[in-house]
Amino acid sequence: MSTHSERGAFAVYGNLRPGRIVAWTILFLGGIVMVTPLLFMFSTSLKSAGHVYDLRLIPEQPTLANYVKVLSDGRFARWFLNSTLIATLVTLSCLFFDSLVAYTLAKFTFPGRRLVFLAILSTLMIPTEMLVIPWYLMASKLGWIDTYWGIMFPGLVTAFGVFLMRQFFETVPNDFLEAARIDGLNEFAIWWKVALPLVTPALSALAIFTFLGNWTAFFWPLIVTTDPFLYTLPVGLSSFAVEQSIQWELIMTGAALATLPTLAIFLFFQRYIVRGVMLAGVKG
């Protein structure tokens, strides 16, 4: 009994360890830094044009007029649709191709395997700014300017995804794959039915990164599109600013609406990440 109560007391004390207090404080401050701009975004989206520079967090006369205005503007809906379509397709493509390439690199031995992997990795070291010109030349030669394909093609397979997935596939025991081989599955089926389900946490992480990255992508979509009809949301929102002398309340409203899908995506896939970590923990 005495050990039990001692342990209880220790547990309470454990929560108040100095290290923990420091950690909580840093996390709390970090949280404030992250959340403040978001709060101002929502706050501003609820203010009328005249009150935008009134920096109170809680608007004096909150209004939904901005939302009505933005949502009734047909262009916004179109950009939203463009972004959703592009981010979704690119994400699906990355999940499929990145993990297929990664699996091959992780689980098959063939001449030049390391070289191929290093070549893929080395592309991570080239900044997007350097790639934009070749991409543009390619897109314009092939007639991809002002097409969905033109916006999407640079991101359909990513070196980062290959790298991430390869690390995870390496942790999949070979026994799992060999057992399937003996049971008569072909190599594609082994990847699809055995290897992929075992790396769902990594797939979820990759899905979140890829979707968010493409949802917020600005530079390349801006360059490759001239037709406002094909703008993605970030490009579209920025065009708001230029043509209408920076209407912050409208930009903030658009931005607020744009965060909703990203939140949804994160909440959806986060479950799988957490579950995956827990599963791995149980397995030891």
């Binding site: 769902t200 599963l279 397995k283």
Partner: protein, 363 residues
């Protein structure tokens, strides 16, 4: 059901040869255990039979057909892996069902087969569970079920019990043996544990450094090990080894001569050869504790007790000889004090002689 024939099977990795042309025939329905220390080539041999490793040389036949270049799925063998290789994301039923992946049975027939298999392995109540919710023994049974469900011509087991605790290992050993008796299928089983090999096998294949040292029934290997390695490897505690030389028509144990009385067997000494250096082998279990001052045995060993290890029904005593030491089995009723002088006796038949150079059994 099928016979598996290995003819001069070789495995090379680049310039490194890990299996040196082994010959082995495994009869239909036979339970053969490949045993040896890690790195002896036993797992590689098994994986070559399975088709998971390409064969570098020689011929492999299963059921009379050469299968060297045949993919694993066309060999109709099943394999149980050390880490079970059951999938954490699938239920027990789905895991067992994986074994029927290529089967052309209807969905209902497959379900029935899965159910039958699960019943045979007492897994029926767990069919909808995932492996995480199963015990180690149950997971092992799922792995066996997955192999069984397909009714393969042979089962290959790759150290399937090494991840289980001692008690469960004993239990699963029994289950596998019963399974073999019931199914009568050909089984090739790889282990580094000689107890497992002894208790399971119809025939044991002892391997070392990519070669087969000896093939025989468990008792053949125990009673007449072909060399020093097998002699030490089979049986616990391991066989005592004492250096000696044939000199003047008798066995001379050198520094140990005073504490080791050996029979004057001129015929034997003659057969082995004058001046030949040998190793005497005698099992701890062949030694019998002697009452002070008397011996009815042709062989006696005297020494001082270093430690005594009670094992319950018996006690193993480590005796110091003038040079080296021996382990002897004694009744657990006898108390031993460290430093005490004791004597053990043994029969002629229990004494084995090995050549010191080749380490091969003599006589």
């Amino acid at each position: 059901m099928a016979r598996i024939e290995l003819e001069r099977i070789v495995k090379r990795y680049g310039s490194l040869t890990t299996v040196h042309g082994i010959d082995l025939t495994i009869d239909d329905g036979e339970f053969v255990v490949l045993v040896g220390p890690s790195g002896c080539g036993k797992s590689t041999t098994l994986r070559m039979i399975a088709g998971l490793e390409p064969i570098s040389g020689g011929t492999l036949r299963i059921g009379g057909e050469v299968v060297n270049d045949r993919e694993p799925k066309y060999r109709n063998i099943a394999m149980v892996f050390q880490n079970y290789a059951i999938y954490p994301h699938l239920t027990v039923a789905q895991n067992i069902g994986f074994g029927l992946y290529t089967s052309r049975l209807s969905k209902a027939a497959k379900q029935e087969r899965i159910r039958e298999t699960a019943r045979a392995l007492s897994l029926e109540p767990y069919l909808e569970r995932r492996p995480a919710a199963l015990s180690g023994g149950q997971r092992q049974r799922v792995a066996i079920g997955r192999a069984m469900v397909r009714d393969p011509v042979a089962f290959l087991f790759d150290e399937p019990l090494s991840n289980l605790d001692a008690q469960l290992r004993g239990q699963m050993r029994l289950e596998i043996k019963q399974l073999h008796q019931r199914l009568g299928s050909t089984i090739v089983f790889v282990t580094h544990d000689q107890v497992e090999a002894m208790s399971l096998a119809d025939r044991i294949v002892v391997m070392r450094d990519g070669r087969i040292l000896q093939v025989g029934s468990p008792m053949e290997l125990y009673n007449r090990p072909g060399d020093v390695f097998t002699a030490r490897f089979i049986g616990t505690p391991e066989m005592n080894m004492i250096d000696a030389v044939i000199s003047g028509g008798r066995i001379d144990a050198g520094a140990n001569a005073a504490s080791l009385r050996l029979p004057d067997d001129a015929e034997l000494a003659h057969r082995v050869g004058q001046g030949r250096e040998i190793i005497l082998g005698i099992r701890p279990q062949a030694l019998n504790l002697l009452a002070a001052g008397r011996s009815d045995y042709p062989i006696t060993i005297e020494g001082r007790v270093r430690v005594a290890e009670p094992h319950g029904p018996e006690t193993f005593v480590l005796l110091d000889l003038p040079q080296g030491s021996v382990v002897a089995r004694a009744p657990s009723t006898v108390p031993f004090r460290a430093g005490e002088a004791v004597a053990f006796g043994a029969d002629i038949a229990s004494l084995l002689m090995f050549d010191k150079q080749t380490e091969a059994l003599l006589g």
